[in-house]
Amino acid sequence: MSAEAIVMMVVAMVVLWGGLALALLNLARSPDLPESSEVHRDL
């Protein structure tokens, strides 16, 4: 692989996978609210 291609591949990985990691960290700061059992009966 050329140096240029490697750089762009790394940039894409850092931005997209790094972005996913940051998004997950951000979401983990707020509690995961469960629905009350009453609500997911789905009759």
């Binding site: 291609a5 750089v7 997209l16 972005g19 998004a23």
Partner: protein, 517 residues
């Protein structure tokens, strides 16, 4: 503890048991066949490594803001697409039904591709295609004749297609949490592991480096080309499953105080992150194929059906431990496809349930059985592949993209709902939707998507798609796109059984009397 009318209404509609389940279901919907077989080639064709820039711009200025809009509509209104629109402004219900009709149409053909992938998973073991995968696909497997309509049944497609529909029916009857939620919680991790294994295997094939070189070498000149930017916005838009009811429907099943913007960021980046993984896996494998045949990567690079059912079988035949690659690749297509298929069908089931106040089981049967029958009639016959290709091409452009642009513009400029929707998202969201979001969803995203749409319109009017006969394009292309619009606005004329269904349940009542603290 007394239950309110609204609580009972929510109990009837169903809900995801937690944010985690919702996020996995939304990723399951967004990650579909397009991530695997469309993104790699789009990136390669539109600047390679340089495509990262327009792609990111499109993700951040149109994709994720649009995802937030869908979430806001469904989460605030607590309803399927038609109900969410009707609860936002009564007169816009037709937009929701237009989206429902599109989903119905997509489900009918999307299932066929999953059925093919299911069959090919097993073909991988004995390399049933021999040394001519293309001849095998169109001849032995699909038994396709000349473009046209022919009712001759192809049993090799009929059986797996029926199996796919039985699986969908079971998931739909089981409901939001036990069906869709449970499927996503299992399928998405399995999909990621299987595809990651495929990527690792592909990277160790000879020629993989040349494949990645072809994909990532930047062509900076491409950034000055409007077509490249249109491709980036188109890819982001189609890949995220936004604008045609799915994310509205799923968001309506989420706890009222969930951080929806935070969830949306995870879904948006997970979808794009998976696309990148797919790009690496697919081009590493194509690099091997090019090397094995002594040609340039550009000669073998392709997308869609050609990539999945012609290029990959060739790779599987030529690579050491090819059967493993085959099972991982086609298995991934099946898993990614099924979670997307159930999301489009759920749009229809949910809308029918809301409007006609049906039980989950009845709505699932009323929607899934006719879809399955239509699917079997059209796509287990010898002309299936042509009809599928045409419907897919036209419904994507003049169904999904058109309804997305129209509904965004109506919400922004006619109903002027965006500030109210931003307020709703800001109540519990970790990403604050300020002026920037209003500008993106009212101006930037609709303008970019309208530009993509107009380009497509001009292309398709000027040139018959793939040279198909005019009557076929008229019926299955333009006709299908017009039909979903008409069906949508006719369905909106039907009366709601209970007019109070059109008001949003008051969440204060639920919070005080029986909700979570």
């Amino acid at each position: 503890m007394s239950t309110t009318v609204h609580e009972q209404a929510e109990a009837r509609r169903g809900a995801f048991s937690s944010r985690r389940v919702f996020v996995l279901a939304a990723i399951g919907s967004a990650v579909g066949l397009g991530n695997i077989w469309r993104f790699p080639y789009v990136a390669y064709e539109n600047g390679g490594g340089a495509f990262v820039i327009p792609y990111l711009v499109a993700l951040l200025t149109a994709g994720i803001p649009f995802l937030f809009l869908d979430y806001a509509l469904g989460h605030r209104s607590r309803g399927s697409a038609p109900l969410a629109f009707a609860r936002t402004r009564r007169a816009t219900e037709g937009l929701g039904w237009w989206q429902v009709a599109i989903c119905f149409m997509i489900a009918v053909y999307y299932a066929a591709v999953i059925a093919w992938a299911l069959r090919y998973t097993f073909f991988s073991f004995d390399e049933a295609w021999g040394d001519d995968p293309e001849g095998f696909l169109f001849g032995d497997f699909l038994q396709a004749g000349d473009p046209g309509v022919d009712a001759t049944i192809v049993p090799g497609v009929l059986v797996p297609l029926a199996l796919v529909w039985i699986a969908v029916l079971v998931v739909m009857v089981l409901g939001v949490q036990k069906g869709i939620g449970a499927t996503s919680v299992v399928f998405i991790p399995v999909l990621v592991i299987a595809f990651a294994a495929l990527v690792v295997r592909s990277l160790f094939l000879p020629g993989a480096g040349e494949g990645l070189d072809a994909l990532f070498t930047p062509d900076w000149g491409a950034l000055g080309d409007a077509a490249v930017w249109a491709a980036a916005f188109g890819q982001i838009f189609f890949s995220l499953s936004v604008g045609f009811g799915i994310m509205i429907t799923y968001a309506s099943y989420v706890h009222r105080r969930t951080d929806m913007t935070g969830s949306g960021l995870v879904v948006g980046f997970a979808n794009s992150g998976f696309e990148l993984l797919a790009g690496i896996g697919v081009f590493a494998a194509l690099g091997f194929m090019a090397q094995a045949n002594g040609v340039a990567v550009g000669e073998v690079a392709t997308d869609g059906l050609g990539l999945a059912f012609i290029a990959f079988p060739t790779i599987i035949s030529e690579a050491p431990a090819g059967a493993l690659i085959g099972v991982l690749f086609f298995g991934s297509l099946v898993f990614a496809g099924i979670t997307s298929l159930i999301s489009v069908i759920e749009v229809v089931v949910s809308a029918v349930r809301d409007k006609f106040e049906m039980t989950r089981r009845n709505a699932a049967l009323v929607v899934t059985i006719p879809s399955a029958l239509l699917s079997l009639v059209f796509f287990s016959t010898t002309s299936g592949v042509y009809v599928l290709d045409i419907v897919d091409h036209f419904i994507n452009r003049f169904g999904i993209l058109l309804v997305a642009v129209v509904s965004m513009l109506v919400l922004a400029w006619v109903v002027r709902a965006m500030p109210m929707l931003a307020d709703h998202m800001n109540r519990n969201g970790s990403v604050r939707l300020g002026q920037w979001w209003l500008v993106l969803v009212s101006v930037v995203a609709p303008a970019a998507l309208a530009y993509v749409l107009v380009r497509e319109l001009i292309d398709n009017v000027q040139e018959a798609y793939e040279g198909y006969p005019g009557w076929m394009l008229g019926v299955f292309g333009w006709g299908a796109a017009a039909a979903v619009l008409v069906v949508g606005f006719v369905a909106a004329r039907l009366r709601w059984r209970h007019p109070e269904a059109l008001t949003i349940p008051d969440d204060r009542v639920v919070t005080e009397e029986g909700g979570q603290p």
